[in-house]
């Protein structure tokens, strides 16, 4: 198993290099990072030249990529623009753990991510739990009552949920559960932010503020997952070994959860494994609607400012997570289905 994991990790290296190359080229082609530097004031051309040199943007893109990758502390660079390389570089490169500094915020990318990641994880992990639990319950129920009225209703509703644009769901939730409830004088949900500034970040406040975004994120995925679980349950539920399990007198609970679900959960593990790493990136649209200070908004702001190091940092984090979660997914298969072996 260790050898298998090592091999998979080695195979991931070219993938990560390719991702970083593509993103680096795209991010640099997006525009001028200095365009939004002075806010509304225009920056003087001498300042612009100096900043370009300091950020290393005067170098060709190949050199910039190399600096991002392996740093420049082993060579001298020309910072004052006199044509003589006389200052020592300070970057260490991502291979040695230096993710670079944000152009706009002048702070290490890792700091920015560390600030935002917990918020995003809070939102996304809560959503993922809601998604998996509720779609398991609905999907299994739907499969057991195949072709009943409730099953048809669930299938129809899951199509509707699956087709909803997330912002439409979010706006509807806000309109009904915040605007309308408030108008009717009922207790209503807050729409923006992580907590009420007058109360402070208490647990109850954060949970209260999470209700609407979590529900909005969940609805669409629950719809998709439910259809998945229903069809994979239906695939196994008529198999011979299920009949055997019933015939030997096992309780229905045992049959369902120990025998049927275990085999039916392989496809579920696959999609959860594909979805989990993307959670790190947060939800750009949902976070911007609910003004949630997470990774999605960090990415969005960085994209608007052409803040290349931040964009690179976020996308490399997600790509790394994709690789790791794919390996974890493949290993989980071996636990769920002992027939699957890798060595």
């Amino acid at each position: 198993m260790t050898r298998y994991i090592m091999r998979r990790l080695l195979q991931a290296i070219p993938l990560l290099v390719l991702v970083s190359l593509i993103v680096f080229v795209l991010a640099n082609a997006m525009g001028d990072p200095l365009a939004s530097f002075g806010g509304r004031r225009r920056i003087r051309s001498s300042d612009r030249e100096r900043l370009t040199r300091q950020l290393g943007l005067d170098k060709p893109i190949t050199v910039q990529y190399a600096v991002w990758l392996i740093g420049n502390d082993w060579m001298d660079i020309d910072l004052d623009g006199d044509g003589i390389a006389d200052s020592k570089g300070t970057r260490q490169g991502i291979l040695r753990g230096d993710w670079g500094k944000s152009f706009m915020e002048k702070r290490p990318v890792t700091d920015l991510i560390r600030e935002r990641l917990p918020n995003t994880l809070l939102l996304m992990v809560a959503s993922e739990i809601v998604i998996v639990v509720s779609s398991l319950v609905i999907g299994i129920y739907s499969a057991l009552k195949q072709y009943s009225f409730v099953d048809h209703l669930i299938t129809g509703l899951s199509f509707v949920g699956y087709s909803m644009p997330i912002f439409w769901t979010a706006l509807m939730m806000m309109y009904v559960f915040a605007v309308k409830l408030k108008q009717w004088g009922l207790p209503y949900f807050p729409t923006v932010g992580k907590y009420d500034l007058s109360v402070g970040p208490t647990l109850a406040q954060i949970a209260w503020h999470m209700v609407l975004p979590v529900t909005s994120i969940s609805i669409i995925s629950v719809a998709g997952y439910t259809r998945f679980i229903r069809s994979s349950m239906l695939d196994v539920i008529h198999d011979d070994y299920i009949r055997t399990a019933r015939a030997k007198g096992l309780t229905e609970k045992m049959v369902l959860f120990r025998h049927a679900l275990k085999n039916a959960s392989l496809p579920l593990v696959t999609i959860v494994g594909l979805d989990l790493p993307l959670l790190l990136g947060g939800a750009v649209v949902t976070e911007s609607i609910f003004a949630w200070p997470g990774m999605g908004r960090l990415y969005w702001n960085a994209a608007q400012d052409t803040d290349v190091p931040v964009l690179m940092g976020i996308l490399m984090l997600i790509s790394g997570a994709v690789v790791v979660f794919q390996i974890i997914t493949d290993i989980t298969y071996t636990f769920l289905d002992p027939r699957i072996r890798y060595d």
Partner: protein, 313 residues
């Protein structure tokens, strides 16, 4: 289908009716798929809305700013209300719908071309070509689509000027969005096509074609492609739905199609600020997106069941 299989079908047919072609069989299954027929009906209704509606309202109605009638709630004069610069939302949903649907279709055409070409070449030639193309596919898969859309959308925004086609002027961003959505959504299709090519190229009829000296291009497009058309049709259909959603997402974020050209997506761009007081501004375009995507998903699901008799629902 070869002659042999249709012969055996004829022999087996107890009623003596002529054998049915695979397309006829698929059509029969499709016709009995209630949700698929519902989807077709809904889709036709929406298409009638955006085409017939265009005879009633001209495009200049849709783009006409009536500053005296800003932010009006739905009324007899403006059934869906007006937006922040007094444009009639009903007329804009008609023209916006046209653009959204066209973007959906053309973006799928782009991703179909890329996906089929890359998948076919990788699967047919194998070896080093396959490795390179599949690494590229994997890489594109690793980056979340919306994140790529944002990068590409920002990179190309404003690069193409407004152009005129058939007497109507379109913002150049329409082209950008079509290309960008197409370029970020071909990977899934490429994988399916590759898998089919890997399997099919080992069949006897392909060996026979090789022996007859058939050129590779002819084998790829005339011999193998028709046999892998079913999954391509299904994923292209569902692709239209997700392209319309992608357009809506990126336009919602403000990187999509630019004014004056309306799309369902960019009508929602400023909607956030009107959440409480002018709900009609986001309700109508959002509902149109939902209904269109729903109809296409129904249709695609029906097609999947009709084209692949093995699927259980």
């Amino acid at each position: 289908m070869s002659a042999a299989s249709s012969l055996s079908l004829q022999d087996a047919s107890p009623t003596g009716r002529p054998p049915q072609s695979p397309i006829q069989l698929a059509w029969q299954r499709f016709r009995h798929h209630k949700m698929a027929m519902l989807g077709v009906g809904l889709l036709i209704t929406i298409l009638i809305y955006v085409t017939v509606g265009a005879w009633i309202f001209s495009e200049s109605d849709a783009n006409y700013n009536d500053l005296k009638a800003r932010l009006q709630s739905p009324s007899a004069a403006h059934p869906f209300g007006t937006d922040g610069t007094g444009r009639d939302i009903l007329a804009r949903t008609i023209y916006g719908g046209q653009i959204s649907i066209i973007i959906g279709l053309l973006a799928v055409l782009v991703s179909l071309t890329l996906g089929v070409l890359i998948g076919a070449i990788a699967g047919f030639y194998g070896g080093i070509v396959d490795s390179i193309l599949m690494r590229l596919t994997e890489t594109m898969f690793t980056i979340p689509q919306l994140f790529l859309l944002i990068l590409l959308g920002k990179m190309l925004s404003g690069k193409i000027p407004t152009f005129t086609l058939l007497g109507r002027s379109f913002s150049g961003s329409v082209i950008v969005i079509i290309g960008v959505i197409g370029a970020t959504s071909w990977m899934y299709l490429a994988r399916i096509v590759r898998a089919n090519y890997l399997a099919l190229k080992e069949r006897e009829y392909i060996t026979a074609a090789h022996c007859l000296g058939t050129p590779n291009g002819y084998i790829i497009f005339r011999h193998i492609l028709p046999n892998t058309i079913a999954p391509i049709v299904v994923s292209a259909t569902l692709g239209v739905a997700s392209a319309i959603l992608s357009e809506a997402y990126i336009s919602f974020l403000g990187l999509g199609v630019q004014a004056p050209t309306a799309t369902w997506g960019n009508m929602l761009n400023q909607a956030y600020h009107h959440l409480e007081t002018e709900p009609w501004m986001w309700f109508f375009p959002g509902t149109f997106i939902l209904l269109t995507v729903l109809a296409i998903n129904f249709l695609g699901d029906g097609l999947r069941d009709a084209l692949d008799p093995r699927t259980v629902t």
